[in-house]
């Protein structure tokens, strides 16, 4: 039975797991709110960044940590690094958001509103897994299939093609086998774990 940081059997509180993974100690946050004030998407989030920190600080109430893992916020975070840059305690909030995303996915607690964002990431990485480089055309088709947004940007594609920006064939790296092994040992290994 796995007891790694993503494991549902790990009994430590979320804040401790995040600390171990990222070195970010949420206890140091004194709720000044600078991160939320600067965040370009704070108004679109269910919990702005400072509230996510607060949810993790309330370690005696695991239901709050649960709210953070199920939040839309962790998927809306653009990793623009503004919060980290302005945090008076120099807490690396974007890195913490990454750790929450991993845990949210491993525990199957992903917010349903994040479906399109994750579909896009998956399509992106699939393209890289097969060719080693992003094949923009292939990725967009893959994303349409995953998200169901078939008509989105239909008028953009022909224009991009004629501007010479959209290629019909992928560029590929030579050592694609190594790339496949790298994916097999990282993303794929974690996703196939029961």
């Amino acid at each position: 039975m796995s007891r790694g940081p993503d494991s549902p059997h790990d009994r430590r509180v979320l804040a401790d797991r995040v600390l171990e993974r990222t070195g970010v100690d949420v206890a140091r946050c004194y709720q000044c709110g600078k991160c939320s004030a600067g965040c370009p998407l704070a108004a679109d989030m269910d919990f702005p960044p400072s509230q996510i920190m607060h949810l993790l600080q309330l370690a005696d109430f695991p239901e709050f940590a649960e709210l953070a893992l199920r939040s839309h916020t962790i998927w809306l975070c653009l990793t623009c690094e503004l919060c980290f840059c302005r945090c008076p305690m120099e807490l690396d909030i974007p890195k913490l958001m990454d750790a929450l995303r991993y845990e949210s996915r491993a525990q199957k607690k992903v917010n349903p509103k994040a479906r399109d964002i994750i579909a896009f990431h998956r399509a992106f990485l699939d393209s890289v897994r097969y060719t080693g480089r992003l094949f923009e055309m292939g990725q967009v088709v893959d994303y349409k299939l995953r998200s169901g947004h078939f008509l989105q940007d239909m008028l953009q594609a022909p224009w991009m093609f004629f501007a010479g920006k959209l290629h019909l064939l992928p560029e590929r790296v030579r050592d694609r086998r190594l790339l496949k092994r790298m994916f097999a040992k990282t993303l794929k290994a974690k996703e196939s774990r029961p």
Binding site: L78, T79, F120, F124, R133, K165, L178, L179, R181
Partner: protein, 302 residues
């Protein structure tokens, strides 16, 4: 000093004019930019959002290939790739155990000898640029750095995280007038261009409207993601902000190329969604100097 070039995926596709203009300028300056051998995608937002090891392994493989080719530094013109490569180098140099694990994944020994530099650092190191200028790029410009050229400050250690100056200085060197404005380092929405176009349209719209209100004739960028969102997403932006916004978005290398007298076509200016209607010098007298609404057409509603 051997400088390698990491184009990244977008400069081979949707941002090919960035690569075309960079290579045209480098040729004219007599600088060689060999590509990092057999480079792969840096993993971008997708990798670090879904898997930490993968997000470190993909850039580590690129940096290890550059080291193996004897490169002392790697020029990474895409700000997003620059960030991923810089963060990876920083994290792996800080933590030997992590470096060993990632080296295992990429089946090569990553040592961290090759430095990662961005386009502004590379251009700042070009001496004698002023002497080569054919037609000064005498335009009022809004220098847009975006998020990742200057942040996180402790990792990239480049310029100031708020109100940076390096691109402004560069624009002055080619005769442009960089303006004081508020959105230099605000986020354009980056990787959400396809999955959350609504958010990108709003964030990018705010950036463009501020540039226009200050009287800018062009927004200068140093990142394919920023360009994609501000240029290719213009129809979405106009729909979202209910205005026609005509200001062109130009790569820093295209502006320099124009000043150096390189033909607009060689700089890929024809590939932009928003037409770039000027070559280098302002057509005399017709400059809408102090008109704050210069870039927004009066016809208004879209």
């Amino acid at each position: 000093m051997k400088t390698g070039f990491y184009p990244g995926c977008s400069m081979k596709g949707s941002a090919r004019e960035y690569s075309e203009s960079l290579l045209a300028v480098a040729r004219l300056l007599g600088r060689e930019l060999p590509e990092v051998p057999d480079w792969n995608c840096c993993g971008a937002t997708a990798a670090h959002n879904l898997d930490r090891d993968l997000a470190l392994a993909l850039p580590a493989r690129i940096l290890a290939a550059a080291e193996k080719a004897g490169m002392d530094e790697v020029l990474v013109p895409c700000a997003a790739c620059y960030s991923r490569l810089s963060v990876t180098r920083h994290e792996l140099l800080e933590d030997d155990a992590l470096r060993a694990r990632i080296s295992g994944l990429i089946e090569a020994d990553y040592r961290g000898t090759a430095r990662v530099i961005n386009i502004l650092e590379w251009l700042a190191g070009v001496d004698g640029l002023e002497g080569l200028i054919k037609t000064p790029f005498a335009r009022k410009v809004a220098c847009y750095y975006g998020c990742l050229l200057v942040r996180p400050a402790g990792i990239v250690k480049f310029d100031r995280p708020e109100e940076p100056q390096s691109m402004d200085r560069l624009m002055k060197r080619i005769g442009a007038e960089p303006l004081d404005w508020a959105f230099k380092t605000e986020c354009c929405g980056a990787g959400f261009s396809v999955s959350r176009t609504d958010l990108v349209a709003r964030l990018s719209g705010l950036i463009l409207e501020d540039a226009v209100s200050r009287g800018a004739e062009a927004v200068i960028v140093a990142c394919p993601m920023c360009h994609l969102n501000l240029d290719l997403r213009r129809p979405n932006i106009e729909k979202s902000s209910h205005k026609k916004i005509a200001i062109p978005v130009i790569y820093v290398t295209q502006a320099i190329g124009l000043a150096l007298g390189i033909a607009p076509k060689k700089l890929g200016l024809q590939r932009h969604k928003v037409a770039v209607k000027f070559a280098a010098a302002p057509s005399s007298g017709t400059l809408k100097d102090a008109d704050p609404s210069a870039g927004i057409s009066k016809s208004g509603e879209v």
